[in-house]
Symmetry: C2
Subunit: 340 residues, 2 copies
DNA sequence: TTGAAAGCGCTACCAA
DNA sequence: TTGGTAGCGCTTTCAA
């Protein structure tokens, strides 16, 4: 029925010009006399008129839409990230066009689509882009911000947890706990998160003269962490301290350890990374390093707004440090950390 | 730089008319000679031209955008739902405009925004709308489909798990297991999922002469489930069989039971609902009823497409039955179910 | 097979 | 404070 009530219809009914109707519905509603405005609003209500945003985009050449590309929606950390982004952006009257991509592949397929939709900016989480794509985005003057990934040397801004420092923090804590044999369960090999966490952890251990850390791949999944821990514990020289590159793997690792009759943390300390809600669950009580999601998101949005405002802002890398959350899955050290 | 390459620019470069360029980039690219097409494609490539989708929406009055409103992105069940929707829709070249709403409040605030964006259809998950909003959507001829909620008597189509049957299934299983004292940990009170599950469970128990089921609210959260189970177990007449309206609460309940020194399932059987990935985790091995997410999503998309094609299709309610997943959190019955 | 021209529903500039 | 009008970049008739 009222499918297509346009500003002209409202204008006709209110006995004013279409321009006036447009003015009334403009954000910064300029110079319309109160009476006229009332008449227009009234007519609009009667007709069930709502401005067509697409047409507005067309003439303002601004969509107020932010594209978000997310490769890992399923994976306890990201839904929270997504929700938070949505809330923040909705509050500022920006809409979100959401895309998935295969995890940690480059997102080259969806990017052109996002660009064609004239998004005001693009946030890419847990995925990387090829350098041609970086080029294309730059060319189209669409600000791109990587969330929790970065590309060395590329001309893209990024916001990341300080994964290197996190890895070091964990090494320190385990060292102070008096552990002697160390393991690392790795996340997806080609991700900057994994390589930084590993580098921080192993580098710090090496500083203390520990060179042979046992490394097993865990793929950032529960099943992967479970399998990796099983392998480690069936060695003749099993570790007594293991850092898992994320919490989900750590949880899988704890379950595996229990199944093999080990007590955590008495026989074996396990530390994760992320501080997802499940880390608090009674069955795990996981010691971990938090990703300060809220701070990361704030930083991302600030960066985005700045880039939208001034498109030739220089590229930045913002590192957000995490905090050690001491719970019960690693042998305690008496002086550090705080629980939650 | 090439910010605004339009079809006119391409036309000029290729020495053809703008209409021709448009034809070349139309899906059903009609009647363009191969040579002309080549020239146009070539020119477009040289200029880095990509059709402006917003303008296309403007003239075709079709956005190919589906709005999804999701109230519970954080909550282990929904991220999977979202990802699956995205994949399916992306495959069919539809984009997704995503909105959050406060959980299980009505979504009246975001709906107008979605409608103004001229979405081709609207999928609302885990949230309800007011009857005025139903009215407004109908009026604007925008198909709306509720996912995992429904509104009695309202004129909106919906796809739901068969929650009633699920509740009955669980009652039957617990009865056959020889349990004698029953409890129910409820989800959010005003949701159709909760009331149906409860109705199925309690109704079936009543059929077998069991009238006093202990009911505690759990709010669909881990913490809520944990607290509710603590209350139940501290009664003088604690239950030995508890159905938790979702898996997360069941997991919280198991942790609470362990903390109070109970063994699951020897002292107490606990059953959940959803079959989220964590239900498989070694620490829980949760017996539960699955929501057949893939089937539900397929049904939703089919319904949506049908509504888009024929807007005065009658409203439908599709119920998708779930399956009992027998694991180790409830005393087994020897004859039923299958594991995963 | 191609081109010219009229919209799609708005915003924004210029005049009145 | 208001109205007229020229776009925004495309699709889609209608003619050639």
């Amino acid at each position: 029925m009222n499918e297509n009530v346009t500003s002209f219809d409202v204008a006709a009914r209110a006995g004013v010009s279409q321009s006036t109707v447009s003015r009334v519905f403009s954000e910064n509603s300029p110079n319309v006399s109160p009476e006229t405005r009332d008449r227009v609003v009234q007519a609009a209500r009667e007709l069930g008129y709502r401005p067509n945003v697409i047409a507005r985009m067309m003439s303002t050449r601004q969509t107020n839409i932010v594209g978000i590309v997310m490769a890992n929606i399923v994976s306890p950390f990201y839904p929270y990230v997504l929700e938070k982004f949505l809330k923040r952006l909705q509050e500022m009257d920006r809409q979100v066009l959401l895309f998935t991509a295969a995890p940690d592949q480059s997102v080259d397929d969806v990017l052109p689509v996002a660009l064609q939709h004239q998004v005001d900016a693009l946030i890419i989480t847990s995925a990387t882009l090829s350098s041609e794509m970086v080029e294309i985005c730059a060319h189209s003057r669409t600000p791109v911000i990587l969330f929790n990934r970065y590309i060395k040397g590329a001309n893209v801004s990024a916001v990341c947890a300080d994964n290197l420092a996190g890895g070091q923090l964990i090494a320190d804590y385990l060292l102070k706990g008096g552990h002697t044999r160390f393991g690392y369960i790795a996340g997806q090999a080609n991700t900057s998160t994994n390589s930084e966490r590993q580098r921080g952890y192993i580098g710090r251990l090496r500083t203390f003269g520990i060179d042979d850390v046992l490394i097993e791949p865990g793929d950032y999944t529960y099943v992967g962490g479970h399998a990796a821990m099983s392998v480690l514990l069936q060695r003749s020289d099993p570790p007594n301290a293991v850092f898992c590159a994320n919490d989900i793997m750590a949880i899988g690792a704890i379950d595996a350890a229990h199944e093999l009759g080990r007590h955590v943390p008495d026989d074996l300390s396990i530390i994760g990374f992320d501080d997802i809600p499940m880390a608090r669950w009674g069955a795990y009580r996981l010691t971990t390093v938090s990703q300060e999601v809220d701070a990361m998101i704030d930083a991302t949005i600030d960066l985005m707004l700045a880039k939208i405002a001034d498109s030739n802002l220089q590229t930045t890398l913002r590192l957000i440090p995490g905090k050690l959350k001491v719970r019960d899955s690693a042998r305690p050290v008496h002086e550090e950390g705080q629980d939650t």
